[in-house]
Every structure is written in structure tokens, then in C-alpha cells.
Symmetry: C2
């Protein structure tokens, strides 16, 4: 079943058949101006016939653009990363770039980092939490001068563009929403502390409580790690308090789903006996029942924007450091009871 392996056409093939120099073919494929229309048409015709496409490897070696964008992730799982990936992939396609995914364990994967960064020349790199806050990574990127954009970063980096939502305000709003429904004993489940949004959301919760004159009680604020299991553990703790919370605000939807599971185990009706809210509006939010009231952030659009910002700063260094804030939306569904009625 040996099929003849067709040799792929090269730029010099196209040049020869089109009767022009390689440089002219190059001009056509890089959309440079000052190419006579007839030559351009001829080049395009020959290229189509030969199914010619410039070699990524050759371009990357010879020129300043590599058409390769890196996406550095910690754990390539979960609905959040899927959305980021989709956003990135869609923009990469439009930009004629290719996405290479590299897994970098949070803190301390310096060997791999150096290896990747010095063997692959990237047009740019997009960073998601928690890697976007790893100074080792940021400095390595600066050292080689690769444009980078960050999604939801925590620490500042004035030389890198970023996209984010106002996690503090969003959590403030969500807490206020619960307070508005008459809740006072509101439990809070933190997120992974290495993701800066966790701290911002906690701050928003605390401030909202305070600004409504409600005491923030330590026994109602418990740790979590963004996972379903950690949400369950946190719920076990919160629901074992002598004075149970009437509502629990989990830092993301997966944990909120965990709270829901525990509530059910304990025979608590949601939202009648316990209100639950999450954050992110992940797929899980509308899969569980009752559907979760949650804060939606437009992750896919944010990732797409991060890609664009990175490309923009590659073209024009002065735009590096642009910060784009996206809007969040409180999705009020079925998991919160109105205690004021």
C-alpha cells in the first residue's frame, strides 16, 4: 500500500514556473505592496496549482516572524482552559498562526521553561493563571524579548498586555446580591491561592459584608482549591458550624457544585434551606440542579483579546502593557432563596 509521497512544492518551484524571482513570490505571500498585478496573479495561479504554502520551519528560521504562538498552561484541564484554548485557537487561525501548547508546572519548571524558550522562537506567548504570575516565567520572557499577554494576572507587569475582569467588584456585587436577598450569614469558599482572582474575590466578599455592616466571621471563610472535591470539603466544614450559613458563595462553579452535592447528602433543600452561588458560569452551572446562580466571565472572548493584544504588541512595542477589562454578568438562576419575602 505504498503510496508515492508527493514532494511539496517550494518557493523556487513557484518562482520558476511563474517566471519571476523568489523574492517576488515572497512578496506576494507576505502581502507586500509594489507587485505588478499580472505577476501577482501569475504567482497565485501557479501556487494554487502546485498547492504551494510557505514552509513554517523555513520562515521561522529565516525571518523575524515565526507564525508560532505559545500557550503556557499549568494544568490543561477544566472548562476554563477549554474556553481559553478555543479563544486562542480561533484567533490563531485568523492570524495564520499556529498554537503550541506547553505545560509548565506552577513554579519551578525552570529547566523546561528555558529549554522551550531557547529552542522555539515564538511570535508571542499567552499566559493563563497561575503561570501568568510566575516572575521566573515573566523574566525569562523579557530576557528574550518575546511579546506576552496575560489572562487574569495578579501581579503587575507594565511591559505586558493583559485582559481581566474586575474580580473584586464582581465578588462584591455577588455578595451584595446575596445580602439584598436577605442573607447575613454568608459562607465563603476561597479559590486556589496561587490564582490571584481568588484573593480579589475574597476581598470583594469581605468589603461587601463590611459595607453593609455585617461582621465577617472567620469560621465562615474556608479554603478551597477550585475543585469539586475541595468544594465538598469546604461545605462539610461550613455546614457543621453551630450557626450554619444561609448562603454559601463558592469562588467557582465546580466548588459550588460540590457544595450542592453535600447539601443534598445532608438533606438540605437548595435554595430553601441553603442558597449557593458560584463564579465563572462554567458548563457545570447549568448541568446541576437547581441551576447555579453565578457570575459569568467571558473567558473565550478574553482569551481571544489576549491573543490580539499580544500580536499588537509584537507589531508595535508601545502598545505592550495595554490592559483590557471585560464585563461580567450576574446570572441569576435557581440556587438562591429570597429571604426578604
Amino acid at each position: 500500500m505504498a503510496i508515492a509521497k508527493s514532494k511539496t512544492a517550494t518557493m523556487s518551484d513557484v518562482a520558476r514556473l511563474a517566471g519571476v524571482s523568489m523574492k517576488t513570490v515572497s512578496r506576494v505571500f507576505n502581502n507586500e505592496k509594489y507587485v505588478a498585478k499580472d505577476k501577482k496573479d501569475k504567482v497565485l495561479a501557479v501556487a494554487t496549482e502546485l498547492n504551494y504554502h510557505p514552509s513554517l520551519q523555513a520562515r521561522g528560521l529565516a525571518g523575524s516572524k515565526t507564525y508560532i504562538v505559545g500557550f503556557f498552561v499549568d494544568v490543561p484541564s477544566g472548562d476554563y482552559i477549554s474556553k481559553v484554548l478555543r479563544g486562542l485557537l480561533s484567533r490563531a487561525e485568523e492570524a495564520g498562526c499556529h498554537l503550541v501548547v506547553e505545560v509548565l508546572k506552577d513554579r519551578g519548571d525552570e529547566v523546561k521553561l528555558k529549554q522551550v524558550l531557547s529552542s522555539i522562537r515564538f511570535d508571542g506567548v499567552v499566559l493563563s493563571p497561575p503561570i501568568c504570575d510566575d516572575v521566573v516565567v515573566l523574566n525569562a520572557l523579557r530576557a528574550i524579548g518575546v511579546p506576552a499577554a496575560r489572562i487574569a494576572p495578579g501581579i503587575p507587569a507594565k511591559d505586558m498586555s493583559e485582559v481581566h475582569i474586575d474580580d473584586y467588584q464582581a465578588a462584591f456585587d455577588m455578595t451584595e446580591f446575596l445580602i439584598g436577598k436577605g442573607h447575613r450569614r454568608i459562607g465563603f469558599i476561597k479559590g486556589n491561592p496561587n490564582h490571584s482572582c481568588s484573593l480579589d474575590r475574597e476581598r470583594g466578599y469581605v468589603r461587601a459584608m463590611q459595607s453593609h455592616g455585617i461582621e465577617v466571621r472567620n469560621e465562615l471563610v474556608v479554603p478551597g482549591m477550585f475543585s469539586f472535591a475541595s468544594g465538598k470539603e469546604a461545605a462539610e466544614i461550613l455546614l457543621s458550624r453551630t450557626e450554619k450559613p444561609t448562603a454559601i458563595f463558592a469562588c467557582n462553579d465546580e466548588m459550588a457544585a460540590g457544595v450542592l452535592a453535600v447539601a443534598r447528602e445532608k438533606g438540605l433543600a437548595v435554595p430553601a434551606d441553603l442558597s449557593i452561588v458560584g463564579f465563572d458560569d462554567d458548563a457545570i452551572a447549568t448541568i446541576v440542579s437547581p441551576a447555579l446562580t453565578t457570575m459569568r466571565q467571558p473567558v473565550e472572548a478574553m482569551a481571544a483579546a489576549a491573543f490580539d493584544l499580544m500580536m499588537q504588541s509584537a507589531d508595535d512595542e508601545s502598545t505592550a502593557g495595554t490592559r483590557v477589562e471585560h464585563a461580567y454578568v450576574l446570572c441569576d438562576r435557581e440556587s438562591v432563596a429570597d429571604l426578604t419575602q
Copy 2:
């Protein structure tokens, strides 16, 4: 804040400082034998000092290996694809390769396919459903002679390695499991018909029913598309039958979760009033309550195996076409009632 951009070291830098030829440096980095130990040590020492790593782009252009592996996906979402990605990424790292993800819409993205395949030289490509059954893709891969491995393919391709589970037998076993629990009216929700496993699973269901002398009734077999929403729609149909099923076998867990949601809406207790089983053992299976009885397939390990098979067939063409079957495990949890008691 302009930081001096360090120029990355090249092979000739290393050669010069180590007092050897470039070819010797090349030998060291490609683990060829016949390099004097003292020269090898010297090269390695200099390379470490310079933080030298061979350029991906240069290697890809000059040599036969590119250290780039492609992962072609239809929709880069969901727990299944996350698992595949993790399996691929972990093996790519060990193999010193880099993964580029390309989105190819099912059937008909021929322009992008040709563009990608003729501009990037891949060491190999891994295909997941439904793209692994797109003959246009398969033939394009053959035409340029790129080693490919397929995950859970449907149509045969003797020249490509593949990993799979016995979907037919797994579905047969699952159906038999339900029958063993005393169920006779068992509804079946099909999967996306473009994923070959859907057909295999349906066949397993049908045969198991028949082999136990149970009539397969058309009104109990309804279409689905692997999504939560399609599971709900299917459940609505199945549960509106005059003779309701006592159990529903959904072709994946997301749809099973949809069935669960509808059951709850209708006030049916699961499993007391309705038993539900899924397939895959996705994260969702243990998030919903009651936890789903489902058929686990080791997706991450399968993806890793696919990667290895692809690499192996790149080294030794005669291994292309290897088929590896993985074991499945019936995870009996809480969503099935025993009617025989």
C-alpha cells in the same frame, strides 16, 4: 524598561567555545554514539553555560525530524478532549516534542487541511473522533507520508496505528448489567453518529437485548449528540412514552446527566423510579447526584499510547497499523436500581 535582549547561543557558538566542529555538537545533542567522552563533556558544559538548546526551526528545516507533532481536533472542548490533550502533552514532553493543535471542522475544512499540512512538516499527527474517520484527512496524510495514529477510529485504515476500546462489547456488557438487575424496558440514547463509537455502542445494546430474548423497541431508541442538552431532549421523549423505560442507557455521561436533570424535573427518583447509566466516566459522572454508573475508558492512557504508536511508526514504518485495545471498567455507582430484589 528596555531590557537588553540576550541573543540566544547557536550551535557554532558552542562548537567554537568547546573547540570542536559543529558536527560534533550536533552528535552530542542527537545522542549519536562515537563521540569521545571528553569532547562530549566539554560540549555539554559549554552548552549548559550558554543555555544552548538546538533551534526547533533550524532542525525542522535541515533535518528529517521536526520535533513537532500535530493534534487535529474538531471541537477542542469537553472532558474527553482535555484528557486526550493531557495524555498527548505528557508524552510529547518526554519525547522532546512540541504539540501544535489544529482545529479542523468535521468534513469540509479541506482548505485549512491542505494549508496546514503543506506548510508545517510534522513528525506525526494524532487524530481523534470524528476527524479520525474523515477520509479526506486520512488521504491527505498518506499523500505526504506523515505517520498518523488514531484514537477510537471507526473506519479501517491498515496503514495507521490506532488505540480503542471494544465499544461494542462494553455497551453489550453495560446492557447486560442492566438486564441482570431486572430491567427489560431499557431506553437507549445514541451518540453523535459521526463518532463511530456511537454505532458500536448501539449495536452492543441491541445485541445484548436480543441475546436475552428482549425485544428492541424502536420507540426506546432515540438520537442524541453527546451534549447535555441533547440528553435532556432524548429523556423528554423517552419519558413521555406510554410505557416508560425503567432504565436509560445514555451513550455518554453528559447525556446521562441530562437524563438525570429531566428525571428530577418530572419528579422521578433516581434510581428508585428510573435507573440511568452513562459511558466514559467523565468528571460529570461523580459530580451529579446520584453518582452515575458508567463505563470507564482510559482516555488519557489511550492518547498517550496513540502518541507512542505514532512515534514508533515514524521510526519503523512496518509497525504502522498496530492496533492496541484498552480495557474498560464498569463503574457501578448509585444510579441503577436492582429490580430483582
